[in-house]
């Protein structure tokens, strides 16, 4: 690990002006559970770590007439414990609760979870210079790729590790970004980018921009949601496949449904085709499996990760079933 300085800004504006010329020499830190590990492993070597925790009032969960606003620095633990979230947005509650361990949920934040870096074992190896780190190839392509992407790969086969992202996208969340160019609010789904856009990044955030807030619209009547995560042990692992589902359902039929998968692609993966197939029909295992299969038709598994396709079918079916 190399030494770095800590900067403690008092306002977000200080951050956007502070980092504007410095590019990668600066790294923004929220909970630090991912960033510090990257520094320790010498995957990144920033000169200054900008501690966003020094900015007051970025940790909150507020219900307003248009929806719920969540400060980016709200801890995952607080998110998981919040009664409003638990009652109205179970998908978000379940996603937050499924992250890592209690200690990491105490440290980790909502915004940090959305911005975390991939867990690809080639990316995490400081001695491997893969495309994501400016090198010439993706080592997973012909390497060990059991945990890698079946969709949206190509240049790079990481899967996005966030649990919150699929849940929040399913809940139609927006995020507010503070930028030197001015502040913007965009749908969360537009935040994430595929490797073909920029192989070195997973989202559109520039080094001098801050993800400040998450906004979720008010729930509709009879709206239900869930997040289901498949991992290889009892707890504390990243998703092999996860499914976030939101919809309005009555009599075993979804009037509308949103489905987002995690663990299968470099970005949270919306299954629009499957949604269209499922919508308005009586839910059966066959229907959900067929819909998933149809939606994952374009999947191009690597040598070791083909099992994720079928796993996605069953994880999604169970998630859908739990909402009936």
């Amino acid at each position: 690990m190399t030494n770095f300085k800590i900067a403690e800004p008092q306002t977000i504006d200080q951050v956007t002006s502070l980092t504007i010329d410095k590019k990668d020499k600066y790294k923004l830190m929220a909970g630090g559970t991912d960033l510090l590990a990257e520094i320790k492993d010498e995957i990144i070597e920033p000169e200054v770590v900008v501690d966003l925790k020094s900015i007051p009032d970025l940790s909150y969960i507020k219900k307003e007439k248009n929806g719920v606003r969540i400060g980016a620095l709200t801890s995952l633990a607080r998110l998981a414990e919040d009664t409003l979230i638990k009652n109205e947005y179970p998908a978000l509650h379940e996603a937050a609760n499924s992250v890592a361990s209690p200690q990491l949920r105490n440290m980790g934040t909502a915004g940090g979870n959305l911005c975390q870096r991939p867990r690809c074992w080639y990316y995490r190896d400081p001695q491997v210079k893969c495309r994501k780190k400016g090198g010439g190839r993706c080592f997973a392509f012909r390497g060990k790729n059991k945990y890698h992407a079946i969709l949206g790969g190509g240049l790079c086969y990481i899967v996005h590790p966030s649990d919150l992202a699929p849940a929040l996208i399913a809940l139609d969340a927006e995020i507010s970004i503070n930028s030197p160019k001015g502040n913007t609010t965009i749908p969360l789904t537009n935040f994430y980018t595929l490797p073909k856009i920029n192989v070195r990044k997973e989202n559109i955030l520039a080094p001098n921009e801050v993800l400040r807030e998450i906004k979720i619209p008010l729930i509709k009547k009879e709206e239900k949601s869930t997040y289901s995560k498949f991992i290889e042990r009892g707890t504390w692992d990243f998703a092999i496949v996860s499914a976030a589902v939101k919809g309005t359902v009555s009599g075993g039929i979804f009037r509308d449904i949103t489905i987002v998968l995690g663990g299968v692609a470099p970005v949270p993966w919306r299954l629009t085709k499957a949604e269209n197939i499922i919508k308005g029909k009586k839910i059966t295992e066959d229907l959900v499996r067929k819909a998933t299969r149809e939606a994952l038709k374009e999947a191009k598994p690597l040598e070791e990760n083909g099992y994720k396709k079928e796993l996605a079918e069953i994880v999604l079916y169970r998630a859908v079933l739990s909402l009936l």
Binding site: T2, K144, T235
Partner: protein, 771 residues
Amino acid sequence: MSDAQKKEKSFQSGHKIIGKPLARHDAWDKVFGKTVYADDYFLPGMLYGKVLRSEYAAANILSIDTSEAEKLPGVKAVMTAKDVPNNETITRFGQTHSVGGFEGLYRILAYKKVRFRGEAVALVAAETEVIAQKALKLIKVDYKPLLGVFNPIEAKKPGAYKVGESESNVICSYKVRKDDVEKGFALSDVIVENTYRVPAQDHAYIEPESGVAWIDDDGVITIRVSTQVIEHFREVAEVLGLPHNRVRVIGTMIGGGFGGKEDITVESYLALLTWKTKRPVKLTYTREESILAHGKRHPYFMKYRTGATNDGKLMALEAELISDAGGYVYLSPWVLLYSTVGATGPYDIPYVKVDSYTVLTNNTFSSAMRGFGVPQVCFAYESQMDELALRLNLSPLEVRKKNYLKKGKAMATGRVLDRYVAFPETAEKALAALGEQSKPKSPAEKIGRGIASGMTSYGRMVFLHDTSRSYVGLDMDGSVTVRCGVQDLGGGQSSSLAQIAAEVLGVPMKDIKVYIADTALTPLAGTTTATRQLYMSGNATLKAAKEIKKNLLNKAADILEVKPESLDLQDKKVVVKEAPDQTIPLTDVIATCASDGIPLYNVAQFNAPFRELIDFKTGQGQVFPDFTFGTHAAEISVDVETGKVKVLKLVACLDVGKAINPLSVEGQLEGGTIQGLGYALMEDVVLKKGVTLTPSLSEYLIPTSLDVVDIDKVMLESGDGLGPFGAKGVGEPSVTSIAPAVVNAVCDALGIRIFDLPLTPEKIVKALKKS
């Protein structure tokens, strides 16, 4: 046995302290975080050491340029192979006793050629850790990458890439021959033949390798280190070209060893850096470095062919074992011998042929891990037993009961078991403890149960002529000091010595002080490996305490004018057994002994049975002092849609001989069972062309508290062990048979067998699809 029954039994045996479930003397300190571990030590003027490790698994080192690193302010030493007085050592069979057999090269720092990724290439000592780390980056190593070989079956072929220099990749091979195995297959009605694979397993101890070293006032290089073997001081001295007694090793409390701290870890590096700089040095591995740099449980390929008659009697067993030793020899030949002798399991088989090989590759080296080659073969032979049961339409218990070894019977190596063999007892009790079978909670859930039996040695191989020593001394107030060079791994090694001394000398536990693990001050007690400390040092301590007791009772007999045999020591008093009211305070007898010049201390040595080497052509002979027998039982559920296994019930039933401290024994049974459960279901050091892809605990998964259930510990106490009070060893036996029990349970649930560990969800789904 219930707690009440245990209490009853202990009372009947007349023991006051032995057999009691006592909280260990150091338990509270650990709970409150007060226990001092290796990395907690800071010395004035201390430097920080770092190790530069090879980026390649196979490469020639063309040149190393350290000049830039040396120029960096704060760097006090940079060392490469050329700076090490004796960089190469050769290990041979035998320790106190040279027995030949194989030779293994061991290097402190890589020289000319690297053999695995992570091999130590250079050392740095600097004023801070950050400077040391920076210096590593300034060392320029010019490598010429080589082809390498990463699979032991490939490496074994003629013409394969040579991992070492001129020596063969095959380090050594063993044979067991009992009659003509083909005859046995001719007599068999059913033959099952399968190939099994097991991965490398990491010890994943909570404490990575760590130590500090300094030069004391007399010029002795002193190393305080987390180790299972303080007696590596001799090898460290030889590296430096110093007399053995100029290197002193002090062991710290250990945050887990499991065999991973049996080989030298940081000691030689610390000694070299402190010797070069004349300043104290600390070196602690990161987790990633720990996983890259220490030996793993050997991956094995195992071909098994087992034959039986229609009524279930085993007739023949043929096995070929190939283990992946990785880049250097380390303990591979010994581990392989354990596997070879253990290849037939606890079964009486008339015709046997075993061939085994351990082979160098460019993977991370393999070495000791809890069970030492036995869990691998147990997975194979116990899978075979269930396959046979299936073919013969017998229950797993029935087929085993027809074949278990019994007291008086010989193993395939000709060794006659001369003590109680807890079969079928442990199997029947383990299975019974599972109780009624659970019901599936959903249509996707299938329930299954399985058992597996194992026999695991305790005590080192008898041709090593193993010994241990312990000092016991009484002070004037009746308090007792024990000095014994045991390393305490957290298994209660020092606590049980205190119990033994307290029991024999009739003093309470609080009056015992144990000093451990110091090569300069405690009598050398050998390694804390091979499940040997209670057996060896427990006996040495027992012997020493008994000598003192004899002196005390003789003196008391003089005073009371009775025979010494009529007296005993209890509650710091000498009591007349037949007239318990008649007592003398212990301190009075001590005072008289002191005044009369009767020794109040004793240093005792305990020798294990000494035997000569086995016959390497046939494998016939005795290798181990004795065995611990046991059976694990498991009930699991499998989600047939996702392939995920959930453990519902686990039972560990072992004949522990005598539980000196039942709480410590339970701790071992739980720990071993969980470690073996990880081996069965998730632990897998993934390597691709020698590159470890799972170098941290976020990739290398071990069981969490949510992956285990309350383990039912069924302790049998035959009293027929070689240890003190009839105890046997349990540290390693606790891990042996759990993985095959779980695998057999999964097979029972699904009707299909998986032949390679671990049983990940993906593997199970694939196997289900195939069937």
